[in-house]
Amino acid sequence: MFTTHNITSRLFERQIRTPPPGTSIHRARRFYENIVPATTIYEVECPDNSFRKFTEDGKYLISFSRNHQDLIVYRPTWLSFSCKHEDCDNQDLPPKAKKFESFFTQLYSVPLASANELICKDFFLYAESNQFGLFATSTAQIYDAPATGGAIQGVPSIEKITFHLLRLEDGVVLDERVFCNDYINLAHSMGVFLFDDLLAIVSLRYQRIHILQIRDSGSLVDLRAIGEFCREDDELFLNSSAQASTYIYTSDKTFLVISSADKRAPQHMPANNAANGSHLEQQPAQENPFLSGIKQRLLSFIVRGIQNEEKDETMRIQSLKKKFYFHFQDYVDLIIWKVQFLDRHHLLIKFGSVDGAVSRNADNHPAFFAVYNMESTEIIAFYQMSSDELYLLFEQFCDHFHVPSKSSPYMNFISSHSNNIHALEQLRSSKNKATSFPLFIKKVLVSLPFNCQFIYKCYIICLQLISAADRHRQSTDHPIKFILRRPPHTLKFKIKPGPEAGITDCRTKRISSFLFHPILPLALSVQQTLFLQPAVVNIHFRR
C-alpha cells in the first residue's frame, strides 16, 4: 500500500478508508505536509514590539513592549478578502492583505512592570485548560549579595521578583506572588515548572521549593515549601521540642546521635573519628544545628543505601568511611539546582554545587539526581550524573520524564527514543560510537530535569526538518529549507528571514527568530540587527 502525497487523493482516501488502528491522528497530521506556509510577505509594517511566542493552543500571540514593561497580546486571525477575478490564485494579494493587522488583532496591552522592574522576556508559562498565563517581572540582579537570613553564599540576589497570573482572554491580572531578596532562575523558565495546576518554584538563594496551586478562580495558593522543612508542621514541632533535644556522644561507636524527645525524626550525624567530633561539638553553639530537612532526608538515604551493601560489620564501616564520610562535606554542600514534577506527588530534583548553579556552563560541575515524594517526604532514589542505571531508565522511559499533562495529550504523539524504534537505534548507535560511556551518559542526561513547556507543540515542525525553532539563530542570507522527513525527501517550502532583496551589509550580526503557529500554517520571522534598529518582520503563510 503506497502512501500518496497528493492532497486530493489523500482527501479521497480519508473519505473511503479508515486508518490502521491507532493512527488516525498521524494520518490527520500528514495533511500538514500539503498545507505549508510557502508564501511570504516581506517587511510587514508592524508595531515595534518583541514578539515572543504563540500559546500552545494557537489562540494568542504573546509580545512585550520594547521597554519590557508592557504585555501586548494578539489574536491570530486570517486574511478575509474576496476576489472577483476568475483566476484568483495567480493574482497578487490586495495591499490591505499585506498588513500586520490582517493577520493579528490586538486584544489588549497591560502594564505589568512598574518603574524599576522589567518583564523577564524569556519567561512565559501557559496553563491551557484555563487559558491562564504566568509572567514574571524582576528588578535588577545584585551580585555579591551578603548571605543573610539563611541564604546561600555565592548566589546573587534580586530585590523583587513578582509572578503575575493573567487570564489571557481579557488581560485581567488574577493574582500575584512576590519573592523579595531572592533568586529564581527565570531564563527560559528554568526555575519554575508547571504541571496541570501545580507550580514548583525553586528559590536558589534560600534553597526552598515552593509548591503552589493555580485554582480555577485564578488564585495562587501555597501548598508547601520544601527545603528547610519537609512536612507542614515540622517548624512548629522543632520549635516546641527544642528544649527536649539531647546530644549523646559515645566514644566507642562512630556515630554521633542527635535525637529529640519524640523519636519521630531521629537523624544520624556521623563523625569520622574523635578529631572530627570536636568539629561537630561546636555545632550546638550555632543558631541551627540541624541540616535542612531535605538535606537530612538525602543524607540518610545515602547512608542507608551504603550500609545495606555490605553484610559484614567491619566491611560496612569501611565502605561507609570510604564512600560517605570522605565526601560528607561535599554532600552537605550540595544545593538544589533544578526541579521538575514526575507526577503530582513526586519531584525530580537536581543537586549540585553552588558554583555550578550560577555559572553559565554547568556541564563541568558534578551533579546528582534525586526523586522525592512530597507526600511521604522521602527520597526514593539518588543517582550520580553519570549513573548507568539512570541512563537505562531514561532510555526506556524517556516519555515519562516529559510529564504527560491531562490537558494536552499532544505529548503522546511526539516520537522519542522510548516509543520509536528508529530513534532508539540512533541513540544506541551513538552510544556504541562514544569513546567514554560516562561522558555519553552525561551528555544525554544533561537536559534533565526538563524545562517546562520546552517541547514546542507545532504540527508542521513535527513533520519537517528543523533545528531550533524557538531559539534565536544567527542568520545568513540563505533561506531555511524545510524538507520532508519521510521519503521522498522533497523540499516542501522555504522561509527567508529578513528583507526580500537580501542583506547588503554582511558585517553586522543578525539574529533571527521564528515563531510558528501550532495549528495554522502561519509563521513569523523576526530579524534584528542592532538593538536600536527596528526589526524586520516577515509573515509566512499558506495562500
Binding site: 542507608r304 553484610k311 507526577d343 526514593i380 531508565l393 522511559f397 515519562h400
Partner: protein, 100 residues
Amino acid sequence: MGSWDVGIWPSFDPHNFSQLRPNDPSAPSTPITYHPTHDRTLPPPDQVISSEAKNILLRQFYQRGDEKLRPKRAAPENLSPEQECKHPRASFASSSEPPK
C-alpha cells in the same frame, strides 16, 4: 445514537452485564467485577480491579530503591535477577482489564 446501555443487549449469560449502572454520569463506566464466561478463568472471590496510581517510571524508581534498602540475606536465598523482574509482571497480569 440510541442507548449504549450494554445491560439490555442480549448475551449468553444474563448475569454478565447486570452489574452495570444504566448511564449514570456519576458512576464509573467500567464494571467493577468480572464475570467469566467459562470455568477455566475464575477470578479469586475478593478480586478488586484498580489501576496503579504510580506511572511505570516511578514504579521502577521505587523497585530499585527497595532493592537497595532491603537488608541483604545470605547468597542462596537471594532471588536471581530474572526472577526479581518477573514479580512486577505477575502483578500486571492481575490488574489487567477483563476481556471484552
